[in-house]
Amino acid sequence: MSKEAPERVVDDPNVAMQNSPEFDQLRRKFRTFVFPLTALFLAWYFLFVLLSVFAKDFMGTRVLGNITWGLILGLLQFVSTFTITMVYARWADRVFDPEAEALAQKMGVQQ
């Protein structure tokens, strides 16, 4: 992304905003949070899928009474999904939104 000075005269306010360092920082903030988290959850999901397919004996092994590894790992998929959803919503509400709203307000003033 370009590091051009925000004072540069551009006809389109969206393009000017897009090229500003504040917006660059906002975008980087979003991506450094969301991309690794997405990669992590996809890897965790496909680990479960691959284990179910290629490690059937392990997944069928009973751990606590009749509860198997497959069931435990499957329920942990639910736990991780709930956790990721809540963590993201909290982060977006508390950290990301205030900065994003500040930039949106700035755009509103410009127009």
């Binding site: 905003m17 999901y45 899928v49 397919v53 059937k56 959803t85």
Partner: protein, 470 residues
């Protein structure tokens, strides 16, 4: 989930062994009366396009989250009932044409008069009934096993093995081919992000904060519901038994209704059956509003009228589209009777993941993405997913099942399959992404202002439409 839908056969003459049709129909009629009253109330403000398609963007995150859970949970169940009716044979056929027509007409009425607001309320009521019904049955089942999951699992497995069945706790009973299972898993996890009727739900809330709240609600409700179904499945295997389930008119789809009858007799069966009817009604309404909005907004206004249609004209076209689409759905539903539903599930999720998802992700995150990339990715993903399904074992060429004397494929007696997998996702999803990339880099077209507008809007929310106030 689809299991709940087996309830339809309980109204069929052939299925008089369990249940009381009068109770089922009575509870369903009550649902129809309550939802109709709400739809008529909601229809008072449906004059503008934003009101009609987006419910005035005035729903809260919680309301929309429950409606998303309703939309999501009914996708599978709607298809499940088709299977239940299919297995039901001739008696079911006579009954289900009447059933399809009744549901179809009610659905057209909900969509035309209620718009997005009406359909959202129908969806919310249905989701609440479905989750409460499943919760009651789950705790009932667990109570029978001393609230111990381990005891339930042990008993269910023993019952299955005593009846000559398999150890239910070993993976790989249903999905023998590992690549097929991986392909299905890919389509399910990536396709969910591209289902149009679920995406459109996010227009009904005013802010990104409410949109996120609706996802939190939806994830909890859907997740908890699936945990319930796990317990209900093992409960049905133990208390009803695999043999009794397979022998019932609705086949595997009868598991939940039979379990309901086993636990709570005619009343609980009637409630679960009515919830199943409500589910179909709500999901068909949700799909119809999405399709009619897209026809009137994207095709009529943008393509035909070049953006000059007034909101009143757009809403009028959307209502006519809902009527026509509803009529087509009724006729299509009658013709689809007896078809293999696995075909439709594979199609829906594979198309959503192969044709819609690449364009959504590229548009959000890739500066250079352009029209050719979008066209190649959408058409390439769509055509490859459909082609691979047509030439898959889902459509033709599966070996005849000795138990039923029929091939599990959609078509009997022919074999033109060359694609080895039931689900095309593992090929068509990467293909959609690759075609989007190649299309983009081979075209010089690029609209910097459009991308800037979209990126600024998606990250800051600047320029997003606000809620309508009355």
């Amino acid at each position: 989930m689809s299991a709940l839908l087996g309830s339809a056969p309980s109204l069929v003459p052939a299925a008089t062994t369990v249940g009381n049709p009068a109770i089922n129909i009575g509870i369903f009629a009550l649902f129809v009366v309550v939802t109709l009253a709400i739809v008529i109330r909601a229809s008072r403000n449906n004059r503008s396009a934003a009101e009609y398609y987006a419910g005035g963007r005035a729903f809260t995150g919680r309301q929309n989250g429950i409606a998303i859970a309703g939309d999501y949970l009914s996708a599978a169940s709607f298809l499940g009932i088709a299977g239940a009716i299919a297995i039901n044979g001739y008696d079911g056929f006579l009954y289900s044409i009447g059933f399809i027509v009744v549901v179809g007409i009610l659905m057209i009425f909900y969509v035309i008069f209620g718009g997005m607001k009406g359909t959202t309320w129908v969806q919310i009521i249905k989701a609440v009934l479905l989750i409460i019904g499943a919760a009651i049955m789950t705790f009932w089942v667990l109570a029978k096993f001393g609230l111990s999951l381990s005891t339930l699992l042990g008993d269910a497995t023993t019952a299955s093995q005593d009846a000559g069945g398999k150890d239910l706790l070993q993976p790989g009973l249903q999905y023998k081919n590992p690549v097929d299972f991986i392909s299905l898993s890919m389509a399910l996890v990536l396709g969910t992000a591209g289902l149009p009727h679920v995406l459109m739900r996010f227009y009904t809330v005013p802010t990104s904060r409410e949109a996120r709240r609706s996802v939190v609600w939806a994830i909890w409700l859907i997740g908890i519901f699936y945990i319930f179904t796990l317990i209900l499945g093992f409960g049905a295997a133990d208390l009803v038994g695999a043999a009794a389930i397979k022998a019932a008119p609705g086949g595997v789809n009868s598991a939940a209704p039979l379990l309901a009858f086993e636990l709570g007799g005619e009343i609980l069966l009637g409630i679960i059956s009515a919830v199943a009817f409500a589910t179909i009604l709500a999901v068909v309404a949700g799909l119809t509003i999405t399709a009619s909005a897209s026809l009137s907004h994207d095709i009529y206004n943008t393509v035909v009228k070049k953006g000059t249609a007034t909101p009143e004209e757009e809403v009028k076209v959307a209502r006519i589209a809902a009527l026509v689409l509803g009529a087509i759905a009724i006729v299509g539903g009658i013709f689809a009777l007896g078809q293999n539903i696995a075909f439709l599930v594979a199609l829906a999720f594979a198309i959503a993941a192969s044709a819609n998802l690449p364009t959504i992700l590229y548009s959000l995150f890739w500066k250079r993405f352009n029209t050719r990339g979008a066209l190649w990715s959408i058409y390439g993903g769509l055509v490859s997913a459909i082609t691979l399904i047509i030439f898959s074992p889902v459509v033709s060429g599966k070996a005849i099942d000795p138990a039923t004397g029929k091939s599990p494929s959609m078509l009997q007696g022919v074999d033109f399959h060359w694609f080895p997998l039931d689900n095309p996702g593992i090929v068509s999803i990467p293909l959609g992404f690759v075609l989007g990339y190649i299309g983009t880099v081979t075209s010089k077209e690029y609209n910097a202002a459009k991308y800037a507008e979209m990126e600024v809007r998606s990250l800051t929310g600047h320029g997003a439409e606000t809620a309508t106030h009355h």
